[in-house]
Symmetry: C2
Subunit: 530 residues, 2 copies
């Protein structure tokens, strides 16, 4: 097949060839991935539009820190932007694809060693290619005394997920909170270890987050300041018991009561893991999707699915309108104490129903515990038929019933205006926040539907900012839009980000445009602020 | 009194006068504190040597963010280094005094407003001058449903303590962990809000730590990259009950068993707050000091207090050799479950003894709960008679009995060599670490004793680094020594710190030398690495 070459911005074909040769010197020819097939593999499978807009020019897959250093130096020499990925499974956010077309994907999947497991101190030290499956297997082999906190699905990278501020469903579910110590290759090729790792020969690298002086781990999350080559992750010791709770409330107007009931329980740690609330649409859409059905089976009309229909469907099934699920971790007796408080609190919402199940130490791990990695097709992604895609608008909101309802309804208004079905989950993140995760499904073969999804997303970002809300993540196509939501004092935070970008990566070779952070030379590419 | 002027390094008397006039324009003449008395008030009262080495040239005390911005701009114009302090109570670490002689203390004590208390979401937004007393009073006035985590004593600043990685004795005791959202004045005078605070009009600033993009809060801790003018702090909701445990073990060799018994209890959160282990010397020294007695009452010999004597004294009192204390927070029944585990674990150490007491909601708060700020003279500071001072060598160590013992004994060896009494506490910080906090008391009127203390400190820093340990804090006189412990890869972390310093503070006006981070122009002042 003839190569239809894609070039990095501002790099000549000759320089790009030289860079590829340099990469081959660094990692071996077979790990410079520059064929059409290679490039295709890095495209965003769920792109909300033309995936080629974010096409990579090539990939390069080092095996070691030294190889990463060598690659970074070559990239600097030729001004080739690198887009580091761990496993490339950041689906719905761009997968493996870079913001800037023509970037070279720095593919870290070959760096997949679990370097240390410490059962007595509850941590692991891992490389970026280690998936939740890999870590789970290694922990089981080490004795099974430590548990992972896994997102769904579990094929993603432990490091990649934490760096992108991903979440799980255990007391260790805010994954950025579990980071303890990093090794990072800076844009100049220098290797830095953070925290106690900066002490030569330290055995405390994964024991203490703060070290001495400023603390940098979180600087390297959702950013483009370095390539994380090792990361410590704190892990939960196996508890004595786990309980699952599924609670429903009967009325469409009960969202506020549900949120206000959960808030104090989560704040005082009676609920010691994050909860997820399903909106009425999601309950039905998930059920049908899991049966392999699409929208047509429910409704043939255009426009946004009518709420009255969904209410009718839920009532026909004897289900509540809003459903929350969460797990709690403690001893068996400790769970009894917690459950009494949960029951008492929800008993105050008329018609609420609670179902529960429990695991006790010694029993086999069950899927509902969310501590075993699983693979399942994303429910609903093909809702509109055809090869499906989805994007998520996910503003952070404090769990106050009235505030959450106001935001939820404002988003719903746009879904109705754009005629899109309102699939939404309220994902609790830590003791004091949730995100209203409004998902837009689209049929990727339907350009008009995809265009509508993009337009609505941009409208939602503007609505959210006007209401004082900001998203916690963004797809590569919308990173500038979401960055624009964070505009306090003439975008002072963005200016700080970019001042530091210029200092640590003066040629701008690492992930330009990630989270709206542009290096000086490419700042004109910023899409949303004019 | 004639003014014996101290000047900032490299600043002419004329420029310094202009700067002081500029400060007066910014904050009002009465808040430019440039008299001998003013300067004297900023000296380190516990200086391990000549306090004048760290004398300030003046102080300036703004009342608002805008005044801080104006002060910073004046400092930039004249190249005057500023040393920001919150309340100046960072005793044993330098108090209010700057690293660089002639710095102007940027005294934030007048910015002392509790800007917001949110009982439902468990947080406060405070200014730097707010002390633990101030916050406690404000929380009580707001309803008393939220508790502080206070160090001892409570006169320090909530912000200052968190920024210096201070600790308390509740589930919220790792104070840097409780930071959620900052407002910072950068060296160029720009105001940045971090996290969700970067969304104009955000009500989630204190609800979610991560915002969008890189997370900067911890960049501004133990550093000199900005002046923190507001900070969110997460607060614990009032629990139903609190228990205190005081446990002793009988043998000098029982330290390892005590540490190994505590580790799994702390890791699985049975102990949900930090513990403190007293070494044998400290138990006796604290007792005598609290009776107003000094060393002479116990021992008249020179050299380090003999361990055999201390053992004899403890046995005479019927006390154990090692004593640990901690509080646990839960419901009354929840505490019963935790206590059963604690008792079972310590029953495995022959001769261990446990005493406990309990508070239940509705009872008045007691001092032992460590949730009310208190003032008491630092026990032991005048141990050697005369006006006392002390410095702390405090390496971080994972709580493994053998490792802790090895480090503890290595430090003890130096105390014996230098003939200093070995007052030591093992301070747990979070689930996976402790610091071996080796305190050196000295009589400030005895220059030879003070010199010995300094020398031993520097020897300990070198010993610790050679063993792979690093301290978590440092006195202003030793900030370079401790930075030198973090030397991995030719001081790569320090280079990163200073690259960022140069980017965000090119004139180097903010706290030069703090934590060993020097601006380009003053880098030659670094004391310990040659």
């Amino acid at each position: 097949m003839p190569q239809r070459k894609i070039l990095p911005p501002g790099v000549s074909a000759a320089d790009f060839d030289s860079a590829l040769r340099g990469f081959a010197d660094a990692v071996g020819q077979e790990w410079v991935l520059a064929s059409d097939e290679d490039r295709h593999a890095y495209l965003d499978a769920f792109a909300p539009g033309d995936a080629d807009v974010h096409a990579a020019s090539a990939g390069v897959a080092p095996k070691s820190v030294e190889e990463v250093q060598a690659v970074v130096k070559v990239a600097n020499r030729y001004g080739v932007p690198l887009w580091p990925i761990s496993s490339g499974r950041n689906l719905a956010y761009g997968g493996s694809a870079p913001v800037v077309r023509g970037s070279v994907v720095l593919d870290l999947k070959r760096m997949n060693r679990v370097l240390e497991i410490n059962e007595k101190l509850g941590y692991a030290l891992v490389e970026p290619g280690v998936s939740f499956f890999d870590l789970f297997d290694a922990l089981q082999a080490a004795g099974g005394k430590l548990w992972i906190s896994t997102p769904a699905p579990g094929w993603g990278s432990v490091i990649g997920n934490a760096l992108e501020h991903g979440v799980g469903y255990t007391p260790y579910g805010v994954h950025a909170d579990t980071i303890c110590g990093m090794e990072v290759v800076l844009a100049n090729g220098e290797v830095v270890r953070t925290g106690m790792g900066a002490v030569s020969g330290s055995r405390e690298w994964q024991a203490f987050k703060y070290g001495y002086g400023p603390v940098w781990d979180l600087m390297f999350t959702q950013s483009n300041f370095g390539v994380v080559t090792k990361m410590g992750v704190w892990l939960m010791p196996e508890p004595e018991a786990v309980a699952n709770y599924a609670i429903s409330v009967p009325q469409l107007t009960d969202l506020a009561a549900m949120v206000d009931t959960l808030r104090p329980l989560r704040l005082d740690n009676t609920l010691n893991a994050d909860y997820t609330i399903q909106n009425p649409f999601r309950a039905i859409m998930d059920e049908l999707s899991m049966q392999g059905k699409t929208r047509d089976s429910l409704y043939k009309g255009s426009g946004s699915l009518p709420l009255a229909l969904i209410e009718k469907e839920l009532r026909a099934r004897g289900k509540g309108m809003w459903n929350v699920g969460f797990n709690v971790f403690d001893s068996d007796k400790g769970l009894d104490l917690r459950e009494a408080k949960i029951r008492e609190a929800f008993a105050r919402i008329p018609g609420s129903r609670l179902e529960t199940m429990r695991w006790r130490k010694g029993e086999p791990l069950a899927g509902w515990m969310r501590v075993t990695p699983v693979l399942f097709p994303l429910a609903g992604v093909d809702w509109y038929g055809g090869p499906g895609g989805h994007i998520n608008f996910a503003p952070v909101c404090a769990p106050f019933g009235d505030r959450v309802t106001e935001l939820y309804e404002a988003i719903y208004k746009r879904y109705r205006e754009f005629g899109i079905d309102y699939y939404c989950g309220l994902l609790n993140i830590g003791p004091r926040a949730l995100v209203v995760n409004a998902v837009t499904f689209f049929n990727r073969d339907d350009p008009e539907m995809t265009r509508k999804g993009r337009e609505m997303y941009r409208a939602l970002a503007k609505d959210g900012a006007a209401m004082g809300f900001g998203d916690y993540r963004a797809h590569i196509s919308f990173m500038d839009d979401i960055a624009a939501m964070y505009g306090f004092n003439d975008h002072a935070l963005q200016k700080l980000n970019e001042r530091i970008k210029d200092a640590v990566d003066p040629r701008g070779i690492l992930a330009p445009g990630k989270q709206g952070i542009w290096p000086a030379a490419l700042r004109a590419k910023r899409s949303s602020q004019t």
